[in-house]
């Protein structure tokens, strides 16, 4: 009997899966979405890199050629080539932020030691004529007042402006330190920014804290879960609904039980979603592999195998849980519009989970974190978050998993019953008392 049951479930899974995967719309969507994503990212990037091929011709106007040269070097060193700091693999956050502001374009800088009003007018006309792109006015007065003007045909972008002012700050400081008799290397030493490195003490062991990686991992999971549930959960609902509106299920019910059908549907349609996500992840990985490899060597994003395993497990179970709720909705309703009204049942726990993320991340061992990570509707996000932040005791993980699996099974059985009876009441939406009645009535 169990064999027949597994066989039937398997047949339903196979049918649901193959029929969906073979559909043209599935293939088109699977290929189209990455194409759109790549388009959305690559085309602007391409455009900006095209822009960067055009070199900005600037004139730096200072009172002395030496200071002008210093400014020129400062801008060129960090603008045109990788700076020494950037090559340092252990760059800290501050450096990184500076890097992010770094303009993508190159510079050609001309030093002009004639800071006269006549020269300013001459340069203005050169800008107007398109001979140069702009000039920086660094007269002694301007430097003393720390108020430097940039004259250009196009106002620089905000990011570039802050980067440029950083470079000027540094150039001016170096200049002034030099004037006070501090040598270039000494000045570099003095200007070296502070690096703050956080360490995590975990089980008596000190590890380099990895807030960024962890946050990234949790966030990726939540986004993936949310997207998968919203995208594919609906198709589980639709699959159940579709059968209700036809009499296919009468034929099927004369061969298989409603539980077999529901389980098969849930897993089959679910697997379609996973296949699509899987294909996308592989595509993304191939696309981003060079960047990832570079990043991995820096140890910047480091995700432990435990976290990865928890990711897979909790994602799958969370996906199954919410899909099974969708299936239950599909069993109760008679049209998709009704289903949309009931979607909050699914979205609400997910939103609450997201709100709980902050408190749980701050205090993963607080009672509220422990217990909320046991609740099946929150545990896919919260227990996974706790594992990523700081692995909780094994019994807590086990209990959370057991509750989650139990809930999925319970919803599935419930849903099979509702489906079984609800399906035979054509064109009529079930009221709550009716559902309760069906549940009492249904014998299997």
């Amino acid at each position: 009997m169990l064999n027949t049951s597994l066989r039937n479930t398997w047949l339903v899974i196979k049918r649901e899966y193959l029929e969906r995967v073979r559909q043209r719309s599935f293939i088109v969507l699977t290929l189209l979405l990455p194409a759109i994503m790549i388009g959305a990212f690559a085309i602007p990037a391409k455009l900006s890199s095209m822009k960067s091929s055009k070199i900005q011709r600037l004139v730096v106007v200072t009172s002395t050629a030496q200071f002008g040269e210093l400014v020129r070097q400062q801008i060129l060193d960090s603008g045109n080539t990788e700076s020494a700091d950037n090559k340092d693999k252990n760059k800290d956050k501050e450096d990184k932020d500076l890097d992010e502001d770094k303009p993508s374009r190159g510079y050609a800088i001309e030093v002009d030691a004639n800071a006269s009003e006549a020269e300013r007018n001459a340069l203005r006309s050169r800008v107007a004529a398109g001979d140069i792109d702009g000039f920086l006015w660094l007269s002694d007065d301007a430097v003393a007042a720390r108020k430097v003007n940039y004259y250009g045909r196009e106002a620089s972008g905000f990011m570039e402006k802050s980067w440029l002012s950083g470079q000027l700050d540094r150039a001016i400081l170096l200049q002034e330190l030099g004037q006070k008799g501090v040598s270039g290397t000494q000045a570099d030493e003095l200007l070296k920014p502070v690096k703050l490195e956080t360490m995590r003490i975990q089980g008596g062991k000190e590890t380099k804290a990895n807030d960024k990686g962890m946050f990234f991992a949790v966030f990726a999971m939540v986004m993936l879960l949310y997207t998968a549930v919203i995208f594919y959960g609906v198709s589980v609902m639709r699959a159940v609904l579709e059968e209700k509106n036809s009499r296919v299920m009468e034929v099927l019910l004369s061969s298989a039980t409603s539980t077999e059908l529901m389980a098969g549907k849930l897993i089959g349609v679910g697997a379609v979603g996973l296949t699509q996500i899987g294909i996308w992840i592989v595509m993304a990985a191939v696309y981003a592999l060079p960047a990832l490899a570079a990043n991995a060597s820096t140890g910047e994003i480091h995700i432990s195998p435990l976290t990865l395993a928890a990711f897979a497990l909790f994602f799958l179970l969370g996906y199954l849980l919410f899909s099974s709720i969708y299936a239950a909705i599909g069993a109760v309703i008679t049209s998709e519009q009704e289903g949309q009204q009931l979607q909050f049942i699914i979205v609400l726990p997910l939103i609450i989970s997201v709100f709980m993320m902050g408190p749980v991340m701050r205090a993963p061992d607080a009672p509220v974190s422990v217990w909320s990570s046991m609740v099946p509707f929150f545990s896919p996000v919260l227990m996974y978050l706790r594992i990523a932040v700081q692995p909780p005791p094994l019994w807590q993980i086990a209990l959370s998993l057991a509750l989650l699996v139990g809930t999925i099974a319970a919803i599935l059985l419930l849903c099979a019953r509702i489906y079984r009876i609800g399906i035979l009441m054509y064109g009529k939406r079930a009221t709550l008392p009716e559902i309760v009645k069906w549940l009492k009535y249904a014998k299997g």
Partner: protein, 303 residues
């Protein structure tokens, strides 16, 4: 033939909320016979069939199949054809039939072979790779029929198998139907068309408002109603038609008139009365049609 009935319904009753779909219904289907479940739309035919194949359960009463209380294992041995829309629209015909066959326990290979054989036989061979939605209604019904019989069930249950079929499809299906009967299968089908039932069935159950009005062997039922109809062709005086002692009612069809004899009247008296004033060209005693039996039985039940 064994004496164990294929199906027995024993005083089953089924309510949906306040509505009583089937009420105190009993019937027995013998192995190897063609059984018709008849009645107007909404009489409770589909509800009855569903209880017979384990989709729903009666509120009270019992269903037994192959001599035992209905179990899931029995359901595996029957084939079911629902009233239209019983196939996945987007699925290819052959895939669909193989899927249904496999669910009934066939291996993928057997399911494929048998589906192909049936498709060939019913003229669907060129359509096996098409999606169900691309098929005409008649072809869909044929595919549905194959889905019900592909696993060679002992007992085939069909809900309105002939509804909406063009005459040529109906003939193909009827032939397949009779082949199954000749192969010793038990067939049950519901219909609201009395003439179809009249031609195909060995036994019938007439239901109206969820209750059995008549049940049993069709020939015996007919005999029980006797030859109460007379077809008369005449020339001359028609006043004999108004003799209420002899004539209960009549229908004038132009070429002939069909007379229903009054209760207790003798056909010979009618002949004498008629020939007294008219020239009789034809005088034939007829068995009542199922339709008339039904109307009369319902009339009695309501009275």
């Amino acid at each position: 033939m064994t004496s164990v009935n294929t199906v027995e319904l024993n005083q089953i009753r089924k309510c949906y909320d306040e509505f009583v779909a089937v009420d105190d219904l009993s019937l027995a289907i013998r192995p190897g016979e063609v059984y018709g479940l008849l009645g107007p739309n909404g009489a409770g035919k589909t509800s009855t069939l569903r209880m017979m194949i384990g989709i729903t359960f009666p509120d009270s009463g019992s269903v037994s199949m192959f001599g035992e209380p209905l179990r899931r294992a029995h359901v595996q041995r029957l084939g079911y054809l629902p009233e239209e829309r019983g196939l996945y629209k987007k699925m290819k015909v052959l895939d669909q039939l193989v899927f249904l066959g496999e669910l009934k326990g066939l291996s993928a290979h057997d399911a494929t072979q048998r589906s192909l054989q049936w498709c060939e036989r019913l003229g669907l061979k060129d359509w096996t790779g098409k999606k169900v939605e691309e098929l005409s209604k008649g072809m869909q019904q044929k595919a549905q029929f194959i889905g019900a019989v592909v696993h060679d069930p002992q007992f085939v249950v069909m809900d309105e198998p002939f509804s909406g079929l063009d005459p040529s499809s109906a003939v193909v299906l009827k032939d397949a139907f009779l082949d199954l009967k000749n192969a010793g299968k038990t067939l049950l089908f519901s219909t609201h068309r009395m003439d179809t039932a009249e031609r195909l069935c060995d036994s019938i159950c007439l239901i109206n408002h969820g209750r059995a009005v008549l049940e049993g062997d069709l020939a015996k039922i007919r005999a029980g109603y006797g030859k109460r109809n007379v077809q008369i062709k005449y020339e001359g005086d028609a006043k004999f038609l108004n003799d209420t002692k002899l004539v209960q009612s009549f229908n004038d069809y132009g070429n002939f008139v069909e007379v229903r004899l009054a209760a207790g009247a003798d056909a010979q008296d009618l002949l004498r009365a008629a020939s007294a004033g008219a020239r009789i060209n034809k005088f034939e005693l007829m068995e009542p049609s199922l339709e008339e039996i039904f109307i009369e039985a319902v009339g009695k039940a309501n009275a």
